[in-house]
Symmetry: C2
Subunit: 309 residues, 2 copies
């Protein structure tokens, strides 16, 4: 009997989730798990709860660096419990099923390729735009098994030091933490802005959403900050367009909500920078799966690998 379901584990964002997904991409029962200690026990418990005879395998998307064989996580600063092979092996032993693992942004790209905004493209690059920036590359219809750490390409060689050790990383200038940093620095230097009215005047509690809200209300500082981050994002988009000449760039993550100012500016900047012949052919579009890309992509890992093997 062909097994029609996968157990998908999304360890990408702050909401860690386990779900049953059908071969058509339908998402069934979901379980949220805590991100704190005992994550491994919580995952094993959730998998046990969802396990049934129709499950073909377990797919995991996780924030971290994978080994080249894509069988284990080498480094995962946010989810140390997943480092090394123990959890993968325990899941395999407990379930008796194959377990596949990939980087969370790679899994999101796979999800968009299977059922989302990437369905119609054989070649696209996905950027996840949140606190930081991640990426995944689909080439010739298949997920490239590479780290695709797009947020850690240096776009300002002598720029600010990043937590990764590099200088001038794209995500230090173009992601959520940059947007907040630009705004807070300006506010500390007495810039005028309605942002002072948020959170009882505590500027250190501002979020990128606050800044987008204020920008849509016409707040000049907020608009400037989003445009500046957008221009830097455009530098990264142009670099990837010149390197990968994709048919599409798909933008995912919380910041995509700020499309009208931040993303518009990024596209404009990329159009000034990328090779004209390549920019004319690339579509820059939002993710269509949103938060579900990770779950759907993790299930896709199972179905594609099962077919290939």
């Amino acid at each position: 009997m062909k097994k029609e379901q996968a157990i998908a584990i999304d360890l990408g964002g702050t909401n860690l989730r386990v779900a049953l997904v059908t071969r058509e991409g339908g998402i069934g029962q979901r379980i949220k798990v805590p991100s704190q200690e005992r994550l491994d026990e919580a995952l094993l418990g959730a998998v046990k709860e969802l396990l049934n005879d129709g499950v073909a395998g377990i797919g995991i998307g996780v924030a971290g660096l994978l080994n080249r064989e894509r069988t284990a996580v080498e480094v995962s600063p946010n989810i140390p419990a997943i480092e090394g092979a123990p959890l993968v092996e325990r899941l395999r032993d407990k379930s008796g099923l194959p377990v596949y693992i990939e980087n969370d942004a790679n899994v999101a790209a796979l999800g968009e390729s299977w059922l989302g905004a990437g369905r119609d493209f054989r070649n696209f690059v996905l950027f996840t735009l949140g606190t930081g920036i991640g990426g995944g590359i689909i080439h010739d219809g298949r997920l490239m098994k590479v780290e695709a750490e797009l947020g850690h390409m240096s776009i300002i060689a002598n720029g600010v030091k990043c937590s990764c050790g590099n200088y001038g990383c794209l995500e230090s200038y173009a992601a959520g933490k940059a947007i907040l940093g630009f705004a807070v620095t300006a506010l500390e230097h007495d810039a005028e802005s309605v942002l002072r009215n948020f959170h009882q005047g505590n500027i250190y509690k501002l979020t990128p959403e606050d800044i987008y809200t204020a920008a849509l209300d016409g707040d000049i500082l907020s608009r400037d900050v989003l445009r500046e981050a957008g221009r830097y994002l455009g530098v990264g988009l142009a670099n990837i367009i010149n390197i990968c000449s994709p048919e599409a760039v798909i933008l995912a993550g919380g910041l995509v909500g700020a499309w009208n100012i931040y993303i518009h500016e990024a596209i404009r900047e990329a159009s000034r920078r990328a090779f004209k012949q390549l920019f004319e052919k690339v579509k820059i579009i939002p993710s269509s799966l949103g938060d579900n890309a990770g779950i759907v992509g993790a299930a896709c890992l199972v179905f594609r690998n099962a077919e290939a093997g």
Copy 2:
């Protein structure tokens, strides 16, 4: 009868060449063609001279942007005669053989993958380091059909304007024209250097080779200039390591001769910037085919495509 030869056309550098190559990679008869006008007639003539019953097809490596289907050159500033499909079609009509075409740096990567420094790697990135910088990416043993314009990733977002329209391109800081630019600017500002003794004191006739020669003789300006360009090259290497997590980076082109200063500095800088776990696993090595990579790779286009069907 299995056809055992390919006609390989190398339109990459300044020496344009046509050669017979065997299925084992042996290079037979070669013909140089002029790069000036009437290139198409010269190529047709050379192909006619080499054509025999054992030829499986014609492979072309050319400096320029290809269309997505890799059937024609869209833009080739140095070799306008090759733009559009007419030359490819004429070669096909005259020879009755399949004609395959690719970007010159992509073809060099394919050559290194087949018979050169990339033989032992399923995943590597090739940089061509000359006046400018080109690239080719081998993923999972196959050439990625992308532009891989590595020289035109911006590493200094607000840097100097490049002829491509972008700002702060890697090749503006890390290739031959940058090395010359740094040196000439310093000499114009009265820097002391033995470079003044070259070319009867005409600093505008200096070449990157002159600068490397002087550097090996201990000339401080020359060493500084090569180190500076090397550091910028290291930024580009780190970016590609973080994005593509390759097993190897292969460095080709004339500047590889300056390994001991320029490339050493680039590797050192990349080691400071790339993700530690990725840098530890990547080998950074010189091309082993040198000038023949283009010819060998163009022949490989024929044999691989013929096998693929």
